[in-house]
Symmetry: C2
Subunit: 223 residues, 2 copies
Amino acid sequence: MLSEAVQDYLKSIYKLSHASQAGEMVTTSLIAERMQVSAASATNMIKKLAELRLLDHTPYQGVELTPTGVKMALEIVRHHRLLELYLRQSLGYDWDQVDAEADRLEHAISEDFEDRIDRALGFPTVGAHGEPIPSKEGDIAVHNYRRLADMAEGERCWIRQVSDRDPALLRYLDEHGLILGTEVEIRERAPFRGPLRIAIGVDREHHLGLEAAEQIYVEIAAA
Amino acid sequence: MLSEAVQDYLKSIYKLSHASQAGEMVTTSLIAERMQVSAASATNMIKKLAELRLLDHTPYQGVELTPTGVKMALEIVRHHRLLELYLRQSLGYDWDQVDAEADRLEHAISEDFEDRIDRALGFPTVGAHGEPIPSKEGDIAVHNYRRLADMAEGERCWIRQVSDRDPALLRYLDEHGLILGTEVEIRERAPFRGPLRIAIGVDREHHLGLEAAEQIYVEIAAA
DNA sequence: GAGCGAATTTAGCCATGACTAAATCCAATG
DNA sequence: CATTGGATTTAGTCATGGCTAAATTCGCTC
């Protein structure tokens, strides 16, 4: 059984490798920052994970999960996302609270618990923030979403996924009706790094900071 | 925040002090056995808990929780019993499985989670095995139950509480309809350490080992 | 190609909570 | 009241996973 610390690092590295460009290595400092530990501590754990064959470490360059490492990470991600959804659906948690509580619980639940909430939720494939939920076998759906920040003026799209990293953003989006499935049209884009003016549904308009729009993933609505 | 290990010891010591006679001290070896650690490890932790003023330690004699220690223990017990009940009621766990899963989860849940399952369960005062659930303030009901093993021939009673320490017993009792609330009459007692012959309801009879009957707590039924 | 600065790694330390082996205490027995 | 055996404590070790400070490496600039 992998220790809690090992599981946390694996999950963070997995998420970081997805946030970075394909082929890019995940650096020690990125891991340290995400885990809120010193760079030296991160190096320590990296060496341990390499020892366990869960990742390949190129010193001074970065790390990359091995297939085994990815498999382990996906198990943890599955626990996390099922828990998030369960907390939301069955216990009424707010959108921005589920991540923290799932972090606490994900190491503690048994396979049996996992199966039971999976069944209670109707075997969902998508989590509380729209992320794909890995299957028990370690398969994970690949969604071809685009960032809302990358959309052009006049385009229409549905909100399909939102980063779970920023509770304040989640609270804001929830309060303003920008939930999963909402249809949005880009009315106007500021030329450089300014906000987007977007239309929500047919009658409401909204200004959204670029930083927020970079954390929202959308599916293009049919023309 | 108390560490998981500290919480586990507190819970075990609290339960042991209730299983023993009033005023009796809880010994190092009892704690070691219950926690599945060596006696030396238990001594280590006892010294730490004494340092934290959670218990009083009389060397070579035993320990006794301080009022603060009891308060901390009751918080953990409250988490545990609410979780057990939730697992049973909302996720369909069997009677003999809830203890193990609650052990995993009890350290991980937040106050918010506790409040939410408390509400979902309708603010219960009794746990899955009939044990009182401490209130958030640290009050706990005292039930004046007797052991089924101490009942005399001809007496009638209701099953009110069962020890959660033996999953095999719980499974057995559940399968034979000896659940909480069942009315039972003692038909015959073997003279010394033999089984009891009991009647369940009006038409069924059953032989129950003395060891089992010592772990079942009952309320005398009105004559 | 030397040097600089930032990132990374190494070295050495600490707390926690296990362990074994050895010493010590205490109660019971003769 | 001395002895002895079981319970308890002490002493010393280990693994885990943090930390800081110091050394090292790498990429970039001159």
